[in-house]
Amino acid sequence: MSVDARDARVFFVDPGRCIGCQSCVQACTECDTHRGRSMIQLDVLDRARSPQTAPVVCMHCESPTCAEVCPADAIKRTEDGVVQSARKPRCIACNNCVLACPFGVPKMASSLDLMMKCDLCYDRTSVGLKPMCASVCPSQALAYLTPDELARLRPAARPVNTFRFGAQAITTKVQVLVPRGAPVEVIDVTAAMHEPSLGHEVAAEVFDAVLEGADAPEGRS
Protein backbone atom coordinates (compact mmCIF):
# COMPACT_ATOMS: atom_id res chain seq x y z
CA MET A 1 0.00 0.00 0.00
CA SER A 2 1.53 3.30 -0.98
CA VAL A 3 1.14 6.22 1.37
CA ASP A 4 2.04 9.87 0.96
CA ALA A 5 4.45 11.66 3.32
CA ARG A 6 1.75 13.05 5.62
CA ASP A 7 0.31 9.59 6.15
CA ALA A 8 3.67 7.81 6.32
CA ARG A 9 4.27 6.56 9.82
CA VAL A 10 7.59 6.66 11.58
CA PHE A 11 8.78 4.49 14.44
CA PHE A 12 9.48 6.72 17.46
CA VAL A 13 11.25 5.37 20.53
CA ASP A 14 11.06 7.08 23.90
CA PRO A 15 12.71 4.65 26.35
CA GLY A 16 12.18 7.08 29.23
CA ARG A 17 8.46 6.29 29.09
CA CYS A 18 8.98 2.52 29.35
CA ILE A 19 7.24 0.95 32.34
CA GLY A 20 8.77 -2.50 31.83
CA CYS A 21 5.43 -4.28 31.34
CA GLN A 22 6.89 -6.62 28.67
CA SER A 23 3.84 -6.29 26.42
CA CYS A 24 6.20 -5.53 23.53
CA VAL A 25 8.24 -8.65 24.25
CA GLN A 26 5.18 -10.86 24.16
CA ALA A 27 3.64 -9.14 21.13
CA CYS A 28 6.92 -9.46 19.25
CA THR A 29 6.79 -13.24 19.56
CA GLU A 30 3.60 -13.15 17.49
CA CYS A 31 5.36 -11.75 14.43
CA ASP A 32 5.27 -14.21 11.55
CA THR A 33 8.87 -13.68 10.51
CA HIS A 34 10.27 -15.04 13.80
CA ARG A 35 7.35 -16.81 15.46
CA GLY A 36 7.73 -17.66 19.12
CA ARG A 37 10.87 -15.58 19.60
CA SER A 38 10.96 -11.99 20.70
CA MET A 39 13.36 -9.64 18.97
CA ILE A 40 12.82 -6.88 21.54
CA GLN A 41 15.76 -6.35 23.84
CA LEU A 42 14.28 -5.33 27.16
CA ASP A 43 16.70 -4.87 30.07
CA VAL A 44 16.41 -3.68 33.63
CA LEU A 45 19.30 -1.27 34.11
CA ASP A 46 19.72 -1.19 37.87
CA ARG A 47 17.14 -3.41 39.47
CA ALA A 48 18.04 -2.57 43.04
CA ARG A 49 17.75 1.18 42.73
CA SER A 50 15.83 2.27 39.66
CA PRO A 51 12.63 1.35 37.83
CA GLN A 52 14.34 2.25 34.53
CA THR A 53 13.85 -0.38 31.87
CA ALA A 54 15.45 -0.24 28.47
CA PRO A 55 13.38 -1.33 25.47
CA VAL A 56 15.57 -1.46 22.38
CA VAL A 57 14.46 -2.38 18.87
CA CYS A 58 16.51 -2.32 15.69
CA MET A 59 17.12 1.30 14.78
CA HIS A 60 17.51 0.48 11.06
CA CYS A 61 20.72 2.42 10.41
CA GLU A 62 21.28 4.17 7.10
CA SER A 63 24.74 2.63 7.02
CA PRO A 64 24.20 -0.57 9.00
CA THR A 65 27.40 -1.72 10.71
CA CYS A 66 25.88 -5.18 11.14
CA ALA A 67 25.53 -5.57 7.37
CA GLU A 68 28.97 -4.13 6.65
CA VAL A 69 30.78 -6.50 8.99
CA CYS A 70 28.80 -9.53 7.81
CA PRO A 71 31.24 -11.83 6.02
CA ALA A 72 28.39 -13.61 4.24
CA ASP A 73 26.45 -10.63 2.81
CA ALA A 74 23.47 -11.93 4.73
CA ILE A 75 21.98 -8.64 5.94
CA LYS A 76 20.17 -6.54 3.38
CA ARG A 77 18.54 -3.13 3.57
CA THR A 78 15.30 -2.65 1.64
CA GLU A 79 14.65 0.32 -0.65
CA ASP A 80 12.48 1.83 2.09
CA GLY A 81 15.35 1.69 4.61
CA VAL A 82 14.47 -1.39 6.64
CA VAL A 83 17.50 -3.45 7.61
CA GLN A 84 16.19 -6.97 7.40
CA SER A 85 17.06 -9.90 9.60
CA ALA A 86 19.78 -12.19 8.23
CA ARG A 87 18.86 -13.97 5.03
CA LYS A 88 18.58 -17.61 5.99
CA PRO A 89 20.52 -19.18 3.11
CA ARG A 90 23.50 -16.95 3.76
CA CYS A 91 23.88 -16.39 7.51
CA ILE A 92 26.77 -18.48 8.85
CA ALA A 93 26.15 -17.52 12.48
CA CYS A 94 29.57 -15.95 12.92
CA ASN A 95 28.29 -13.46 15.53
CA ASN A 96 29.96 -10.43 13.92
CA CYS A 97 26.70 -8.50 13.65
CA VAL A 98 25.74 -9.24 17.25
CA LEU A 99 29.03 -7.86 18.49
CA ALA A 100 29.25 -4.95 16.05
CA CYS A 101 25.76 -3.41 16.32
CA PRO A 102 26.25 -0.11 18.18
CA PHE A 103 22.79 -0.42 19.73
CA GLY A 104 23.25 -4.06 20.86
CA VAL A 105 20.24 -5.33 18.93
CA PRO A 106 20.81 -8.65 17.08
CA LYS A 107 20.30 -12.02 18.75
CA MET A 108 22.12 -15.22 17.92
CA ALA A 109 20.12 -18.43 17.59
CA SER A 110 23.04 -20.85 17.64
CA SER A 111 20.94 -23.99 17.32
CA LEU A 112 19.60 -22.62 14.03
CA ASP A 113 22.95 -21.17 12.90
CA LEU A 114 21.10 -17.92 12.38
CA MET A 115 21.19 -14.32 13.54
CA MET A 116 17.75 -12.92 14.21
CA LYS A 117 16.74 -9.35 14.82
CA CYS A 118 13.84 -6.92 14.63
CA ASP A 119 12.84 -6.30 11.01
CA LEU A 120 10.29 -3.61 11.86
CA CYS A 121 7.50 -6.20 11.47
CA TYR A 122 8.01 -5.91 7.74
CA ASP A 123 4.95 -8.03 7.07
CA ARG A 124 2.87 -5.36 8.83
CA THR A 125 4.68 -2.06 8.26
CA SER A 126 5.12 -2.69 4.54
CA VAL A 127 1.32 -2.59 4.24
CA GLY A 128 0.82 0.38 6.56
CA LEU A 129 0.12 -1.44 9.83
CA LYS A 130 1.87 -0.74 13.12
CA PRO A 131 4.65 -3.06 14.31
CA MET A 132 3.43 -5.52 16.93
CA CYS A 133 5.35 -3.86 19.77
CA ALA A 134 4.09 -0.34 19.03
CA SER A 135 0.53 -1.59 18.69
CA VAL A 136 0.51 -2.90 22.28
CA CYS A 137 2.85 -0.54 24.17
CA PRO A 138 0.61 1.03 26.84
CA SER A 139 2.93 3.96 27.60
CA GLN A 140 3.84 4.39 23.92
CA ALA A 141 7.53 4.25 24.66
CA LEU A 142 7.44 2.48 21.30
CA ALA A 143 5.15 4.45 19.00
CA TYR A 144 4.44 4.28 15.29
CA LEU A 145 2.95 7.62 14.31
CA THR A 146 2.48 10.01 11.43
CA PRO A 147 4.17 13.42 11.82
CA ASP A 148 0.73 14.96 12.52
CA GLU A 149 -0.02 12.41 15.21
CA LEU A 150 3.37 13.04 16.79
CA ALA A 151 2.76 16.80 16.88
CA ARG A 152 -0.69 16.29 18.41
CA LEU A 153 0.17 13.55 20.90
CA ARG A 154 3.68 14.61 21.92
CA PRO A 155 3.70 18.41 21.89
CA ALA A 156 6.69 18.48 24.22
CA ALA A 157 8.85 16.19 22.13
CA ARG A 158 10.70 16.20 18.83
CA PRO A 159 12.55 13.41 17.03
CA VAL A 160 16.30 12.93 16.63
CA ASN A 161 17.83 10.16 14.56
CA THR A 162 21.58 10.72 14.68
CA PHE A 163 23.71 9.14 17.37
CA ARG A 164 27.35 9.38 18.26
CA PHE A 165 29.45 6.43 19.35
CA GLY A 166 32.96 7.69 19.96
CA ALA A 167 33.98 9.38 16.74
CA GLN A 168 31.32 7.59 14.71
CA ALA A 169 27.96 9.19 13.89
CA ILE A 170 25.13 6.85 12.94
CA THR A 171 21.85 7.97 11.38
CA THR A 172 18.82 5.75 11.67
CA LYS A 173 15.33 5.25 10.23
CA VAL A 174 13.85 4.80 13.70
CA GLN A 175 13.77 8.08 15.63
CA VAL A 176 14.25 8.83 19.28
CA LEU A 177 12.19 11.49 21.07
CA VAL A 178 13.97 14.29 22.93
CA PRO A 179 12.52 17.37 24.68
CA ARG A 180 11.36 19.92 22.13
CA GLY A 181 13.50 22.66 23.63
CA ALA A 182 16.66 20.61 24.10
CA PRO A 183 19.53 21.91 21.96
CA VAL A 184 20.39 18.44 20.72
CA GLU A 185 20.82 17.32 17.12
CA VAL A 186 22.96 14.29 17.89
CA ILE A 187 22.54 12.00 20.88
CA ASP A 188 25.98 11.21 22.24
CA VAL A 189 25.69 7.64 23.49
CA THR A 190 29.30 7.25 24.57
CA ALA A 191 29.05 10.42 26.68
CA ALA A 192 26.39 8.65 28.76
CA MET A 193 28.33 5.38 28.86
CA HIS A 194 29.48 5.78 32.43
CA GLU A 195 26.39 7.59 33.71
CA PRO A 196 24.24 5.71 36.19
CA SER A 197 20.60 5.27 35.28
CA LEU A 198 18.00 7.74 36.49
CA GLY A 199 15.95 7.25 39.62
CA HIS A 200 13.20 9.32 38.06
CA GLU A 201 9.66 9.73 39.29
CA VAL A 202 7.98 7.25 37.07
CA ALA A 203 6.50 8.92 34.04
CA ALA A 204 5.10 11.93 35.89
CA GLU A 205 5.19 13.87 32.67
CA VAL A 206 3.24 11.15 30.89
CA PHE A 207 0.38 11.13 33.36
CA ASP A 208 0.27 14.93 33.68
CA ALA A 209 -0.09 15.17 29.93
CA VAL A 210 -2.89 12.58 29.89
CA LEU A 211 -4.79 14.47 32.60
CA GLU A 212 -4.52 17.63 30.51
CA GLY A 213 -5.93 15.72 27.54
CA ALA A 214 -2.91 16.28 25.37
CA ASP A 215 -1.53 12.79 25.41
CA ALA A 216 -4.49 10.50 25.00
CA PRO A 217 -3.58 7.00 23.86
CA GLU A 218 -3.83 6.75 20.10
CA GLY A 219 -5.96 4.19 18.33
CA ARG A 220 -4.43 0.86 17.55
CA SER A 221 -4.10 -0.82 14.25
Binding site: V25, T33, D43, R90, Y122, V178, P196, L198
Partner: protein
Protein backbone atom coordinates in the same frame (compact mmCIF):
# COMPACT_ATOMS: atom_id res chain seq x y z
CA UNK B 1 39.38 -1.74 -13.02
CA UNK B 2 40.02 -1.93 -9.31
CA UNK B 3 42.84 -4.17 -8.05
CA UNK B 4 40.20 -6.40 -6.40
CA UNK B 5 38.31 -6.82 -9.68
CA UNK B 6 41.54 -7.44 -11.61
CA UNK B 7 42.53 -10.12 -9.12
CA UNK B 8 39.10 -11.70 -9.41
CA UNK B 9 39.24 -11.71 -13.21
CA UNK B 10 42.61 -13.47 -12.89
CA UNK B 11 41.20 -16.14 -10.61
CA UNK B 12 38.14 -16.51 -12.82
CA UNK B 13 40.33 -17.02 -15.89
CA UNK B 14 42.57 -19.48 -14.01
CA UNK B 15 39.60 -21.54 -12.83
CA UNK B 16 38.09 -21.59 -16.33
CA UNK B 17 41.41 -22.67 -17.78
CA UNK B 18 41.75 -25.40 -15.16
CA UNK B 19 38.30 -26.82 -15.96
CA UNK B 20 39.07 -26.65 -19.70
CA UNK B 21 42.29 -28.61 -19.18
CA UNK B 22 40.44 -31.17 -17.06
CA UNK B 23 37.87 -31.57 -19.84
CA UNK B 24 40.62 -32.07 -22.43
CA UNK B 25 42.49 -34.58 -20.30
CA UNK B 26 39.36 -36.38 -19.04
CA UNK B 27 37.91 -36.76 -22.51
CA UNK B 28 41.23 -37.97 -23.90
CA UNK B 29 41.75 -34.87 -26.01
CA UNK B 30 38.04 -34.69 -26.88
CA UNK B 31 38.04 -38.24 -28.26
CA UNK B 32 35.03 -39.08 -26.07
CA UNK B 33 33.55 -35.61 -26.02
CA UNK B 34 29.87 -35.58 -27.01
CA UNK B 35 29.55 -32.75 -29.51
CA UNK B 36 25.78 -32.57 -28.91
CA UNK B 37 26.52 -31.31 -25.41
CA UNK B 38 28.91 -28.53 -26.40
CA UNK B 39 26.48 -25.74 -25.45
CA UNK B 40 26.26 -27.18 -21.94
CA UNK B 41 30.06 -27.30 -21.73
CA UNK B 42 30.39 -23.63 -22.59
CA UNK B 43 27.66 -22.73 -20.11
CA UNK B 44 29.59 -24.57 -17.40
CA UNK B 45 32.78 -22.79 -18.38
CA UNK B 46 31.04 -19.41 -18.20
CA UNK B 47 29.55 -20.33 -14.82
CA UNK B 48 33.02 -21.37 -13.63
CA UNK B 49 34.41 -17.96 -14.54
CA UNK B 50 31.47 -16.17 -12.90
CA UNK B 51 31.64 -18.26 -9.74
CA UNK B 52 35.40 -17.87 -9.34
CA UNK B 53 35.12 -14.12 -10.00
CA UNK B 54 32.35 -13.56 -7.47
CA UNK B 55 33.90 -15.87 -4.90
CA UNK B 56 37.22 -14.02 -5.13
CA UNK B 57 35.49 -10.64 -4.89
CA UNK B 58 33.60 -11.92 -1.87
CA UNK B 59 36.78 -13.21 -0.22
CA UNK B 60 38.36 -9.78 -0.56
CA UNK B 61 35.74 -8.02 1.55
CA UNK B 62 37.41 -7.14 4.88
CA UNK B 63 35.21 -9.30 7.14
CA UNK B 64 35.26 -12.27 4.78
CA UNK B 65 39.01 -12.02 4.25
CA UNK B 66 39.65 -11.97 7.96
CA UNK B 67 37.32 -14.86 8.70
CA UNK B 68 38.77 -16.89 5.85
CA UNK B 69 42.27 -16.40 7.27
CA UNK B 70 41.26 -16.97 10.87
CA UNK B 71 39.16 -20.03 10.03
CA UNK B 72 42.10 -21.72 8.35
CA UNK B 73 44.48 -20.67 11.15
CA UNK B 74 42.13 -22.21 13.71
CA UNK B 75 41.70 -25.36 11.65
CA UNK B 76 45.40 -25.88 10.99
CA UNK B 77 46.81 -24.93 14.39
CA UNK B 78 49.66 -27.27 15.33
CA UNK B 79 48.65 -30.36 17.24
CA UNK B 80 44.94 -29.86 16.72
CA UNK B 81 44.37 -30.45 13.04
CA UNK B 82 43.70 -34.19 13.41
CA UNK B 83 40.96 -33.53 15.96
CA UNK B 84 39.74 -30.66 13.80
CA UNK B 85 39.55 -32.96 10.81
CA UNK B 86 37.38 -35.37 12.81
CA UNK B 87 35.09 -32.60 13.97
CA UNK B 88 35.01 -31.14 10.44
CA UNK B 89 33.80 -34.53 9.17
CA UNK B 90 31.03 -34.65 11.78
CA UNK B 91 29.98 -31.08 11.09
CA UNK B 92 30.09 -31.58 7.33
CA UNK B 93 27.83 -34.63 7.63
CA UNK B 94 25.42 -32.88 9.96
CA UNK B 95 25.30 -29.42 8.39
CA UNK B 96 25.91 -30.08 4.71
CA UNK B 97 24.82 -33.64 4.01
CA UNK B 98 21.91 -33.86 6.46
CA UNK B 99 20.91 -30.17 6.57
CA UNK B 100 20.34 -30.58 10.31
CA UNK B 101 20.34 -26.85 11.04
CA UNK B 102 17.80 -26.12 8.29
CA UNK B 103 15.51 -28.82 9.66
CA UNK B 104 15.79 -27.18 13.08
CA UNK B 105 14.87 -23.81 11.57
CA UNK B 106 11.74 -25.19 9.99
CA UNK B 107 10.87 -28.77 9.15
CA UNK B 108 9.12 -28.07 5.84
CA UNK B 109 11.94 -25.75 4.80
CA UNK B 110 14.47 -28.46 5.73
CA UNK B 111 12.68 -31.25 3.87
CA UNK B 112 12.28 -29.06 0.77
CA UNK B 113 15.96 -28.16 0.89
CA UNK B 114 17.07 -31.77 1.34
CA UNK B 115 15.01 -32.89 -1.66
CA UNK B 116 16.24 -30.07 -3.90
CA UNK B 117 19.86 -30.39 -2.75
CA UNK B 118 20.12 -34.14 -3.21
CA UNK B 119 18.23 -34.00 -6.51
CA UNK B 120 20.68 -31.41 -7.81
CA UNK B 121 23.72 -33.27 -6.48
CA UNK B 122 22.66 -36.50 -8.16
CA UNK B 123 21.95 -34.64 -11.40
CA UNK B 124 25.32 -32.91 -11.29
CA UNK B 125 27.14 -36.17 -10.52
CA UNK B 126 25.57 -37.76 -13.61
CA UNK B 127 25.59 -34.91 -16.12
CA UNK B 128 28.89 -33.18 -15.50
CA UNK B 129 31.08 -36.18 -16.33
CA UNK B 130 28.94 -36.75 -19.45
CA UNK B 131 29.15 -33.10 -20.52
CA UNK B 132 32.91 -33.04 -19.94
CA UNK B 133 33.39 -36.27 -21.89
CA UNK B 134 34.85 -37.88 -18.74
CA UNK B 135 32.24 -40.62 -18.71
CA UNK B 136 30.77 -42.66 -21.50
CA UNK B 137 29.32 -46.12 -21.93
CA UNK B 138 30.13 -48.77 -24.48
CA UNK B 139 29.03 -52.32 -25.16
CA UNK B 140 31.35 -54.93 -23.67
CA UNK B 141 33.32 -56.37 -26.58
CA UNK B 142 31.93 -59.80 -27.36
CA UNK B 143 29.00 -59.52 -24.92
CA UNK B 144 26.17 -57.33 -26.17
CA UNK B 145 24.05 -57.92 -23.07
CA UNK B 146 26.39 -55.83 -20.96
CA UNK B 147 27.58 -52.27 -20.88
CA UNK B 148 30.88 -50.94 -19.67
CA UNK B 149 31.28 -47.53 -18.00
CA UNK B 150 34.42 -45.75 -19.15
CA UNK B 151 35.78 -43.04 -16.85
CA UNK B 152 38.40 -40.79 -18.46
CA UNK B 153 38.98 -43.49 -21.03
CA UNK B 154 39.55 -46.25 -18.47
CA UNK B 155 37.08 -49.12 -17.95
CA UNK B 156 35.43 -48.65 -14.55
CA UNK B 157 32.69 -51.27 -14.17
CA UNK B 158 30.30 -53.46 -16.19
CA UNK B 159 26.60 -54.15 -15.79
CA UNK B 160 23.71 -55.93 -17.51
CA UNK B 161 21.45 -53.74 -19.67
CA UNK B 162 18.31 -54.73 -17.87
CA UNK B 163 19.76 -54.93 -14.37
CA UNK B 164 18.68 -52.64 -11.52
CA UNK B 165 22.07 -50.92 -11.73
CA UNK B 166 21.46 -50.19 -15.40
CA UNK B 167 17.94 -48.99 -14.81
CA UNK B 168 19.06 -46.69 -12.03
CA UNK B 169 22.00 -45.33 -13.98
CA UNK B 170 20.11 -44.66 -17.19
CA UNK B 171 17.18 -43.13 -15.35
CA UNK B 172 19.19 -41.42 -12.65
CA UNK B 173 18.19 -38.01 -13.93
CA UNK B 174 14.52 -39.00 -13.74
CA UNK B 175 14.89 -39.83 -10.05
CA UNK B 176 16.79 -36.61 -9.52
CA UNK B 177 13.99 -34.67 -11.24
CA UNK B 178 11.38 -36.23 -8.99
CA UNK B 179 13.37 -35.18 -5.92
CA UNK B 180 13.79 -31.63 -7.19
CA UNK B 181 10.15 -31.29 -8.24
CA UNK B 182 8.90 -32.51 -4.86
CA UNK B 183 11.25 -30.10 -3.11
CA UNK B 184 10.23 -27.18 -5.34
CA UNK B 185 6.55 -27.88 -4.69
CA UNK B 186 7.11 -27.96 -0.93
CA UNK B 187 9.12 -24.75 -1.10
CA UNK B 188 6.49 -22.94 -3.18
CA UNK B 189 3.76 -24.18 -0.84
CA UNK B 190 5.65 -22.72 2.12
CA UNK B 191 6.29 -19.43 0.36
CA UNK B 192 2.68 -19.05 -0.68
CA UNK B 193 1.14 -20.04 2.64
CA UNK B 194 3.43 -18.51 5.26
CA UNK B 195 2.93 -14.84 5.97
CA UNK B 196 6.41 -14.51 7.46
CA UNK B 197 8.03 -15.82 4.30
CA UNK B 198 5.67 -13.73 2.17
CA UNK B 199 6.71 -10.52 3.90
CA UNK B 200 10.39 -10.68 3.08
CA UNK B 201 10.64 -12.82 -0.05
CA UNK B 202 11.57 -11.32 -3.39
CA UNK B 203 10.85 -12.66 -6.84
CA UNK B 204 14.41 -12.61 -8.19
CA UNK B 205 15.96 -13.91 -4.98
CA UNK B 206 13.45 -16.50 -3.83
CA UNK B 207 11.15 -17.52 -6.70
CA UNK B 208 13.56 -17.36 -9.62
CA UNK B 209 15.67 -20.33 -8.48
CA UNK B 210 12.53 -22.38 -7.86
CA UNK B 211 11.17 -21.53 -11.32
CA UNK B 212 14.49 -22.41 -12.96
CA UNK B 213 14.81 -25.72 -11.12
CA UNK B 214 11.20 -26.55 -11.94
CA UNK B 215 11.75 -25.78 -15.62
CA UNK B 216 14.94 -27.84 -15.80
CA UNK B 217 13.32 -30.84 -14.09
CA UNK B 218 10.09 -30.71 -16.06
CA UNK B 219 11.70 -30.35 -19.48
CA UNK B 220 14.13 -33.13 -18.55
CA UNK B 221 11.25 -35.42 -17.65
CA UNK B 222 9.45 -34.49 -20.87
CA UNK B 223 12.46 -35.77 -22.81
CA UNK B 224 12.10 -39.17 -21.17
CA UNK B 225 8.34 -39.12 -21.70
CA UNK B 226 8.82 -38.23 -25.36
CA UNK B 227 11.14 -41.09 -26.24
CA UNK B 228 9.51 -43.65 -23.92
CA UNK B 229 5.81 -43.18 -24.58
CA UNK B 230 5.40 -40.70 -27.43
CA UNK B 231 7.67 -42.18 -30.13
CA UNK B 232 9.95 -39.14 -29.86
CA UNK B 233 7.19 -36.62 -30.46
CA UNK B 234 8.55 -33.08 -30.17
CA UNK B 235 11.89 -34.44 -28.97
CA UNK B 236 14.04 -31.86 -30.76
CA UNK B 237 11.95 -28.98 -29.50
CA UNK B 238 11.97 -30.32 -25.93
CA UNK B 239 15.72 -30.93 -26.11
CA UNK B 240 16.30 -27.31 -27.13
CA UNK B 241 13.92 -26.09 -24.42
CA UNK B 242 15.72 -28.22 -21.83
CA UNK B 243 19.09 -26.89 -22.99
CA UNK B 244 17.83 -23.31 -22.68
CA UNK B 245 16.59 -23.87 -19.11
CA UNK B 246 19.78 -25.63 -18.01
CA UNK B 247 22.10 -23.13 -19.66
CA UNK B 248 20.04 -20.25 -18.25
CA UNK B 249 20.41 -21.73 -14.78
CA UNK B 250 24.18 -22.04 -15.18
CA UNK B 251 24.54 -18.51 -16.47
CA UNK B 252 22.51 -17.21 -13.53
CA UNK B 253 24.32 -19.39 -10.96
CA UNK B 254 27.02 -16.89 -9.97
CA UNK B 255 24.59 -14.00 -9.58
CA UNK B 256 21.59 -15.33 -7.71
CA UNK B 257 20.52 -17.22 -4.64
CA UNK B 258 22.18 -20.47 -5.70
CA UNK B 259 25.56 -18.85 -5.05
CA UNK B 260 24.95 -19.74 -1.42
CA UNK B 261 25.97 -23.29 -2.37
CA UNK B 262 29.52 -21.99 -2.54
CA UNK B 263 29.34 -19.48 0.31
CA UNK B 264 27.67 -21.74 2.81
CA UNK B 265 30.66 -24.01 3.66
CA UNK B 266 32.18 -20.96 5.37
CA UNK B 267 29.91 -21.92 8.24
CA UNK B 268 32.29 -24.80 8.97
CA UNK B 269 35.26 -22.45 9.28
CA UNK B 270 33.32 -20.19 11.64
CA UNK B 271 32.86 -23.08 14.06
CA UNK B 272 36.63 -23.52 14.36
CA UNK B 273 37.06 -19.79 14.88
CA UNK B 274 34.53 -19.90 17.69
CA UNK B 275 36.22 -22.94 19.24
CA UNK B 276 39.55 -21.07 19.21
CA UNK B 277 37.86 -18.03 20.74
CA UNK B 278 36.37 -20.05 23.59
CA UNK B 279 39.73 -21.64 24.31
CA UNK B 280 41.41 -18.24 24.47
CA UNK B 281 41.10 -15.15 26.59
CA UNK B 282 37.66 -13.58 27.04
CA UNK B 283 36.82 -9.97 26.21
CA UNK B 284 35.85 -7.94 29.27
CA UNK B 285 33.28 -5.18 28.94
CA UNK B 286 34.87 -1.85 29.79
CA UNK B 287 31.63 -0.54 31.29
CA UNK B 288 30.44 -3.36 33.55
CA UNK B 289 33.62 -5.45 33.69
CA UNK B 290 32.00 -8.75 32.68
CA UNK B 291 33.16 -11.18 30.01
CA UNK B 292 31.04 -11.11 26.88
CA UNK B 293 32.95 -12.64 23.98
CA UNK B 294 36.44 -13.72 23.02
CA UNK B 295 39.17 -11.12 23.06
CA UNK B 296 40.30 -12.36 19.65
CA UNK B 297 36.86 -11.73 18.14
CA UNK B 298 36.63 -8.21 19.53
CA UNK B 299 40.14 -7.31 18.34
CA UNK B 300 39.39 -8.77 14.91
CA UNK B 301 36.17 -6.78 14.67
CA UNK B 302 37.99 -3.58 15.56
CA UNK B 303 40.39 -4.27 12.67
CA UNK B 304 37.50 -5.02 10.29
CA UNK B 305 35.61 -1.88 11.28
CA UNK B 306 38.70 0.25 10.73
CA UNK B 307 39.18 -1.24 7.27
CA UNK B 308 35.53 -0.51 6.49
CA UNK B 309 36.01 3.12 7.49
CA UNK B 310 34.11 3.09 10.78
CA UNK B 311 35.48 5.26 13.55
CA UNK B 312 34.16 3.80 16.77
CA UNK B 313 37.29 4.94 18.64
CA UNK B 314 36.42 6.51 21.99
CA UNK B 315 38.43 9.36 23.52
CA UNK B 316 38.06 7.75 26.97
CA UNK B 317 41.51 6.30 27.70
CA UNK B 318 40.12 3.23 29.44
CA UNK B 319 37.53 2.26 26.85
CA UNK B 320 39.47 3.30 23.70
CA UNK B 321 37.06 1.59 21.29
CA UNK B 322 33.29 1.19 21.47
CA UNK B 323 33.72 -2.45 20.48
CA UNK B 324 34.96 -3.10 24.03
CA UNK B 325 31.49 -2.35 25.40
CA UNK B 326 29.24 -5.43 25.67
CA UNK B 327 25.93 -5.40 23.74
CA UNK B 328 23.91 -5.12 26.93
CA UNK B 329 25.85 -2.10 28.16
CA UNK B 330 25.47 -0.53 24.71
CA UNK B 331 21.72 -0.71 25.10
CA UNK B 332 21.97 0.69 28.63
CA UNK B 333 24.16 3.58 27.41
CA UNK B 334 21.78 4.39 24.57
CA UNK B 335 18.74 4.44 26.82
CA UNK B 336 20.55 6.39 29.57
CA UNK B 337 21.67 9.01 27.02
CA UNK B 338 18.04 9.55 25.99
CA UNK B 339 16.68 9.52 29.53
CA UNK B 340 19.22 12.09 30.70
CA UNK B 341 17.95 14.52 28.07
CA UNK B 342 14.52 14.35 29.67
CA UNK B 343 15.81 14.80 33.20
CA UNK B 344 14.89 18.49 33.28
CA UNK B 345 11.33 17.77 32.11
CA UNK B 346 10.48 14.51 33.80
CA UNK B 347 12.48 14.95 36.95
CA UNK B 348 14.51 12.29 38.69
CA UNK B 349 18.13 12.30 39.68
CA UNK B 350 21.18 10.33 38.71
CA UNK B 351 21.86 7.45 41.03
CA UNK B 352 25.26 8.14 42.47
CA UNK B 353 27.27 5.15 43.47
CA UNK B 354 30.77 3.89 43.72
CA UNK B 355 32.53 1.33 41.57
CA UNK B 356 31.50 -0.18 38.24
CA UNK B 357 27.98 0.31 36.96
CA UNK B 358 25.71 -2.63 37.65
CA UNK B 359 25.26 -5.23 34.96
CA UNK B 360 21.91 -4.72 33.20
CA UNK B 361 19.61 -7.75 33.43
CA UNK B 362 17.14 -9.17 30.99
CA UNK B 363 13.64 -8.14 32.06
CA UNK B 364 12.48 -11.59 30.99
CA UNK B 365 15.20 -14.19 30.44
CA UNK B 366 12.62 -16.86 29.62
CA UNK B 367 12.47 -18.97 26.49
CA UNK B 368 11.49 -16.91 23.47
CA UNK B 369 11.67 -13.62 25.38
CA UNK B 370 15.33 -13.49 26.38
CA UNK B 371 18.52 -14.85 24.80
CA UNK B 372 18.07 -17.36 21.98
CA UNK B 373 20.29 -20.08 23.43
CA UNK B 374 23.54 -20.46 25.33
CA UNK B 375 25.74 -18.54 22.91
CA UNK B 376 23.30 -15.65 22.84
CA UNK B 377 23.36 -15.53 26.62
CA UNK B 378 27.17 -15.59 26.62
CA UNK B 379 27.21 -12.59 24.33
CA UNK B 380 25.60 -10.62 27.04
CA UNK B 381 27.47 -12.23 29.97
CA UNK B 382 28.09 -15.84 30.88
Amino acid sequence: MSPEAARSVGWGAAATLAVTVLILVGSRNLAHFDAALVAYTFAVLFATFGLAYRYTMWLQRPPTALYWRRGWQAFLQPGAWLGNLASWTTRFASDVLANAFILRRDRSRGVAHLLIMWGCLIAVAITFPLVFGNLHFRAVPGDLSRYEAMVSGFPAFRFEHGSMVGKFLFHGLVWASFLVLAGVMLAVRRRVREQGAGAVQRFAEDFMPLILLFAVSLTGLLLTASYTWMYGYGYTFIAILHAITVIGTFLWLPFGKLFHVFQRPAQLGVRFYKDAGRAGEPALCRRCGHAFSSRMHVEDLIEVERKLGYTYEVADGEVRHYQWICPRCRRASFVTAQSLLWQGTRGGGSLEGSGALPMPRYANPGEGAGPLGAEDAENYHP
